[in-house]
Amino acid sequence: MNLTALHAKVLPSLLGGTSRHPLPGDLIRPSSPNSDGALEMLTLMGQALRFERPPTPESFIVEPEIKDERKIIADGLRRPLIRLLTAKTATEHPGRALARAFDQLRLRPHPFDLPLIDAFIRSNAEKLGPTAQHWADRQKPEAETRSYFDPELLDESSWMQAPLSRRVAYLEERRRDDADAARALLESTWAQEEADARFRLLQVFQTRLSISDQPFLNRLEKDRAQRVRALAARFLARLGAGIENPALGACLERIKHSQSGLLRKRTTLQMELPANVKDQAASRWILETFAELSFGELAGAFKVTEKELIAAAAKDEPLLLALALIATNEGRLDLLELVVAGLPNAWERMFEAGLDTLGTMTESERQRWEEIVVHPYRKDVPTTYSLWDWLYRITDAEAPSSVMSIALHAKLLTKVPEHERGSAPWVEMFAATCPASQRQELREQLTKFDQSQTVIPFALLEILDGMENDRTHV
């Protein structure tokens, strides 16, 4: 009896049951007179199946070719990295710091480690290189995936393929170099963009906004998305070429304009909060009301220069907060510095207001923004964790040296309130944001804490040092 006969004659009987499909009687000699041969057939069939080689699928999936020119992280750092990223950390700061380091140093995780640090990859894919992005997208339908390549290699022909945040950053950079070319690039792809992408890409126009942008902005008055139309209208208003920003009227209603001084009349501005806005909600109301405004519009409304506007608001804290938020929104750090001179607690006030983005600021601008808001606290460093946590969430950057110096020299970690002292979030946060040049000083302060609380911070510092050294040896 051959294999074909076994399959044809025996297998159906065994599967369906010999009571209904009796086995052919002449196929095998029973092992004993009492046997009907069924169990021998079972054994023979079973062994025959065991010798069958597994079937080969008709086709295999062709894996996409990913051009990833980033260097793979050093072997010696892989295990510590996996250990850290799979450990229970108190905050997200270690993961964010590592993602930043991967991005800045143009390193990438080892492909074999991607499944082991899957959550980290999915949260930070855009900073980890094309291979990681492909991994993060692997569950998505094919239609939603795209080509994977290194964002640093973006050019005008490929920028459409990159993730939105990278495209925004690329357009921002182009806008700084050549505003007209950047606009032309956006115009060429505008019709294919979705509403969210159109809005975010258009935000870039606040960098080097000029009258030559007007024709393009005029066309956007008929855009399908209301927020795109509103943003275009704001830009046009800023250029003095469109209708007045509707938010401006509402804001002006709340600002009391007066003249003061005996010999030389000076403009004085004062904000009057609506009666139904309680003190604790004032900052948030200011953010919501003034978010749509530009410095130029407000100064123009009072027929003063931008600097004169700040001077006019010097004695009114709510109005200074509004100006700080507008300066932040526009990336006008020169003006923010002037505002903060009169509003030394701008950091706390902006935190209360619920500011959640620094817009399209570059990393160096975000660090400069941090310096501006933190420096007034040099002599009295705040010890509220949520304040520092917000600062590093919103800047998503390494702390500037001057800010870290303030924290280290003030021995902030030893001064935090008793219930927060030495708690893991503090030490993790400072380890994650400490610049390389100050890590030794931070380590010395960390040694004073229980080792149980510094395992994660020390491991993080070791890995960051290792990544930087690895990169410098390329």
Binding site: L14, L15, T43, G46, R50, H110
Partner: protein
């Protein structure tokens, strides 16, 4: 063996134990920390008045703690290991105290054997019913007692043989019932029917067959629906084959007869194996290439440590597996070795047509992590599979077996990964649990490696690739 975080992580029964150990790293919890003779010990102040006494052996990560925790290792032992690994605390050099000596004297022994002579390195025998050593003088003193004991042993053996044979008769009846009802139908109610016959076989003192049938439902349900009925035929066919072979051991070659008896459930104790002069012994360097852990229905965890022979020993087994059973309740998920460890040891193999299972007879050099590649033979997946088929012909109920390969590739079809041999077109479906972890390998061209084939799925354990080494986590 150097203590590393990897080893400590692997030893920890769960993440919470590690977290708890981390809290004990503060030196103030440890009024005593000392070291000497390859051991480190300390006293950890717990919630009680008396500190817990903890000792670890760095050579083999052995440990002991006086705390009442049911986790092994407990947080105190883990914390002590941790402090040794990162050298964060000062351990005073000291003579080994009595309580540590006492623990050492009661250990089973491969621990400090790397520094011992061969004779000393031999594991101490544990008392067992069959092999309890009776001093000669004592035996001489009472030969009648020895005869009586031998007679009792023989009577017990015969009673068990009879019980097993009776159980096999019931098994035949049960198998005939399943065949009559149809194996497509069997799959739908496998858990219930297998449990019944497994219990009967336990009563019949055939625990090997009982375990095989008890585990059958789980095994079937790990496979895709369409292949389950044919898998049931394969599995029940093997069960019948074993039962037939057991009844005819006198007609079988000696080694196959030993395989049949082991498959039914006649176990060979460690002491018996180590005292068996006929057992194959291989003295070589061995590399751990896989550690598998599986919870069994009997609330024991079966831990398999797969070893690959790295040094030459012509004609001797190339692979070995050390099998340990630990209670699931302890939380321990692995033995003392990590994948990548290299040891130098003499292994004794259990008698078998295809010798694989072994015990460490003498450990010459403790485990050390090594970056050396595995010395894989220069043969394709197809050639390796042909060896498997040959082995299957020799031992028809052959279980999991290692397959090494050169220049194969990992391919994907939907979510399923395959290990594919370009030359022959042979493709082995990879274990479904590896669909995620091994998927980065699908982007590579050719890989060399080794894995475990159970007749249905291939578990890739180790691969050398152009991106470096990949190991099953």
């Amino acid at each position: 063996m150097a203590l590393t975080f990897e080893r400590i992580e692997a030893l920890a029964p769960d993440q919470s134990s590690l977290a708890a150990a981390r809290k004990l790293l503060k030196p103030s919890y440890w009024p005593t920390l000392a070291e000497g003779e390859g051991l480190a010990w300390g006293e950890c102040q717990g919630s009680g008045a008396t500190p817990y006494r903890v000792v670890i052996n760095e050579a083999d990560t052995g440990y002991k703690c006086t705390c009442p925790s049911r986790k092994f290792p407990c947080k105190h032992a883990l914390a002590l290991m941790w402090m040794r690994a990162d050298r964060s605390a000062a351990f005073a050099a000291a003579t080994v105290p009595d309580w540590v000596k006492d623990w050492l004297s009661r250990r089973r022994g491969t621990s400090n054997s790397a520094s011992k002579t061969d004779d000393e390195a031999k594991p101490k025998t544990r008392p067992s019913i069959r092999f309890t050593e009776i001093p000669e003088a004592e035996a001489d003193a009472d030969p009648k007692a020895e005869q009586r004991a031998a007679a009792i042993r023989e009577r017990n053996r015969l009673e068990r043989e009879a019980a097993v044979l009776a159980g096999l008769e019931d098994l035949d009846t049960w198998l005939s019932d399943q065949v009559q009802h149809g194996l497509a139908n069997f799959v739908a109610q496998t858990a219930q029917v297998c449990r019944t016959i497994a219990q009967r076989l336990v009563d019949a003192k055939a625990p090997g067959l009982a375990g095989r049938l008890d585990a059958l439902p789980t095994r079937l349900f790990t496979l895709s629906g369409p292949v389950r009925p044919s898998a049931a035929i394969r599995e029940l066919g093997q069960v019948h084959l074993i039962s037939q072979a057991y009844r005819r051991t006198s007609e079988l070659p000696e080694l196959l007869a030993a395989d049949a008896r082991q498959a039914v459930g006649w176990s060979v104790t460690r002491e018996a194996l180590l005292n068996d002069s006929q057992a194959i012994r291989v003295n070589a360097k061995w590399r751990v290439f896989a550690v598998l852990s599986e919870a069994q229905p009997d609330r024991l965890r079966r831990v398999e440590t797969w070893l690959w022979r790295q040094s030459a020993a012509d004609g001797m087994p190339q692979c070995a597996v050390l099998i340990d059973f630990v209670p699931i309740s302890t939380g321990a998920a692995m033995g003392g070795y990590l994948v990548g460890d290299q040891i130098e040891a003499e292994l004794s193999f259990y008698r078998s047509t295809i010798p694989l299972r072994a015990q460490i007879n003498a450990l010459k050099r403790g485990a050390e992590q090594s970056s050396e590649p595995l010395t894989l033979p220069n043969e394709s997946l197809d050639a390796s599979y042909a060896k498997y088929e040959h082995a299957l012909a020799q031992l028809p109920w052959l279980g999991t077996i290692p397959l090494s390969f050169r220049a194969a590739s990992v391919r994907r079809n939907g979510e399923q990964l395959y290990l594919y041999d370009d030359e022959s077109g042979l493709s082995l479906p990879m274990h479904t649990s590896q669909a995620n972890h091994a998927s980065p390998l699908a982007t590579l061209d050719r890989i060399d490696g080794i894995g475990l084939w159970n007749g249905y799925e291939f578990t890739l354990a180790w691969a050398e690739t152009q991106l470096g080494r990949w190991m099953r986590s």
